[in-house]
Every structure is written in C-alpha cells, then in structure tokens.
Subunit: 197 residues, 2 copies
C-alpha cells in the first residue's frame, strides 16, 4: 500500500456497499471491506468511524446545504417556499441514484441502520426549523413547516429512488410541494362536490 | 402478594415513571420498579416485556384508533381531512397530560428510547398511509398526506405537552391543520405583497 491512496474513501464505500448487498450488513467486517478496497484497516478507520458510518457519512453536508438554501431564499418567500427551497437544495448532496437505491435497501433491511436514519432525519427537521426561525419565522410555524418539509423530503426521496424514475430530485420535490398545496387548498378538489358555495 | 393484584399495571407504570425521573432510565432496574409498586418481578413481566415497554405500551391502540377514525371519515372527505380526523382521534389514547410530559422528558434524555419512539412514529405514518389507501386514495397521495399528518401529529403533541397549555389535543390538532392550510394556500398571506395580481 503506497503512501498515497487516491480515492480510498470512494473505493471503501463501493466495497462496503457490495459486501453489504452480498452478505448482509451484519455479517460484513471492516477487515473484509478494507481487503476488497485494497487498503488497510487503518485506512478504513482514517475515513470512517465504523461500518455504519460508511452509509451515513456526508449527512452533515446535506443538513448544512438545506439550511443554507433556506437562509438564501428571497426575503419575501413564505415559510413553506423557503423550506421548499431547502429541500430542493438537497439534490446536489445525494449520491448517484443507483447507489442511493442500494443504500436504502440495506438500511431498510437492518433495524439498527433504520433507527440511525430516523435519528438523522429528526435532526434534519430540527435544523430546518432553526433555519426558518433565523429568517424571523415564529417558533410554532417553524416547527410545523419543518415537520411538513421533512415529510416532503421523504416523499420526494422515495419517489426519486423508485425503480424506473428518471426525473431529478429537485423536480420531484417541487411536484410534492405542489401536490400538498393542492391537497391543502380550502376548496379541495378531492372533496365531494356537495354543498359547495 | 394476593392472587388478585388490582391495577398492578397502573401501579407499575407509576412506580417506573417515578424511578426513571429520580434515578434516570438506565439506572433503574425491573426489581426496583416491582418493589416500589408492591408486586413481584413476575407480575412486572406479565404486564411488560421489559422496562422500555412501560413507556411504549398502548402504542398499537393509538395506531389502531387513528386508522379506525380515518376509515370512519365521511366518504366525501378529502385525504387531508380524513387524515386529520385520524390525528384528532389520537386524543382519547393519550395518557393524562402530566404523565405525558414526564414520559417525554425521560424519552428525550435517552437516545435508545428516542430511537424506539422514532421507529414507532415511522410505523404510525405507514399505518396512516395504509388507512388512506384503503379509502381509495392513490399510493403517492397517501404517502404524502401520511407524512404530513405525522408532522401535524408531532406538532400538536409538542404543543399539547408544552408547559401551561390547557387546550385539548384534538383542538391543537385542528389548529395545526388550519395553520398548514393557511401556510400552503397559493395566495400565501405570509408572502411579501409585491407583484400580487
């Protein structure tokens, strides 16, 4: 192993994903991941705290990008519009779609990983609420919109990784928000037509 | 200990909450809970699988009540209205407010409990989506509204256990939905007035 290990991080991630898919997350060891990536275990631990972290590294960047986009939304933007701009900004922080699909399959199959993912998503909602409060949105509205934005994020992500989907995450996020607006409209088109005024 | 142990479940729950608050969840043992409740450990384990379960028992009843209320919503109700009826129905399944506050404080202080709570909430969203699909709501809309409903549920619950709050959960749930409708309205009142047509 040379002193320089170009893209050892990328190779470790790829090796880990292959092994998790082949043998399951639980049965895979760090030694095996390092071996397949052609690096030492020490190199693994310079890049990732543990084998779970291979799947979650980069999450802070995502939360930061969302918060930055909320902060950068036009000053006249409504809380929901600002939050939507944040969710859309997640686009640039996702891995390649095929990788994201495989990652989700691994997470969904492992309760520990699923718990970790839910913890990260809950913390994402808190950071969205904080970014909204920083824009002057009152605390109650910020919490409400942040929870809703997290729901939109999850729905858009689920659609994005669906088999056969080709549209970008940003477009799917905008579509989800537009659907919510329609579904929440007072003169709801989905309602029975009786007693309309 | 007599053969009949009237309300041993309630006494165990009360004893557990006291001990979790006094010593912390981690430091409390089942033996101590049983002892304070004046029952045997065997009686504890007839009621609860473990000391975490004391805090989460009854969750299936909550999910069932929400799903039943969604199913019972008028056939003309929109997906959001049906989901709202479900969230409101949670009211009858909550413990007394002071208990709910103490419970939340204990959960928030313990990462394991928080993970378990998030898992239960995620499963609640799935059961709301299922109940909506059973009404004929398409899958994409059902998932979107279920995620949003979960957000409304969390917000209403957070408001309900806030110090000094006296309004009922159902009222707070309706208030949160009304706020969402306003915030999601196309002619958003929170938007800057420029360029309105």
């Amino acid at each position: 192993m040379g002193r320089w290990e170009p893209d050892s991080r990328g190779r470790l991630r790829k090796a880990a994903m292959e092994l998790y898919a082949e043998r399951g997350f639980e049965a895979t060891t760090v030694a095996e991941i390092a071996d397949r990536a052609g690096v030492t275990e020490r190199t693994f631990f310079r890049q990732f705290a543990d084998k779970r972290e291979v799947l979650f590294a980069g999450g802070e960047g995502l939360a930061g990008a969302i918060a930055a986009a909320i902060a950068a939304a036009p000053s006249g933007a409504s809380p929901l519009d600002a939050a939507t701009a944040g969710v859309e900004a997640a686009d640039g922080y996702f891995p390649e779609r095929t990788y994201a699909r495989r990652r989700q399959t691994i997470i969904d199959a492992n309760p520990d990983l699923l718990e970790r993912e839910l913890i990260k998503l809950a913390s994402l909602a808190r950071s969205i609420a904080r970014a909204l409060r920083d824009r002057g949105v009152d605390a109650a509205t910020a919490t409400l919109i942040a929870e809703v934005a997290l729901g939109l994020f999850r729905v858009a992500f689920e659609r994005w990784i669906a088999e056969g989907e080709t549209r970008g995450f940003g477009e799917l996020a905008r579509e989800s928000v537009a659907q919510l607006r329609e579904l929440a409209a007072p003169g709801d088109r989905h309602q029975a037509p009786a007693h309309r005024t």
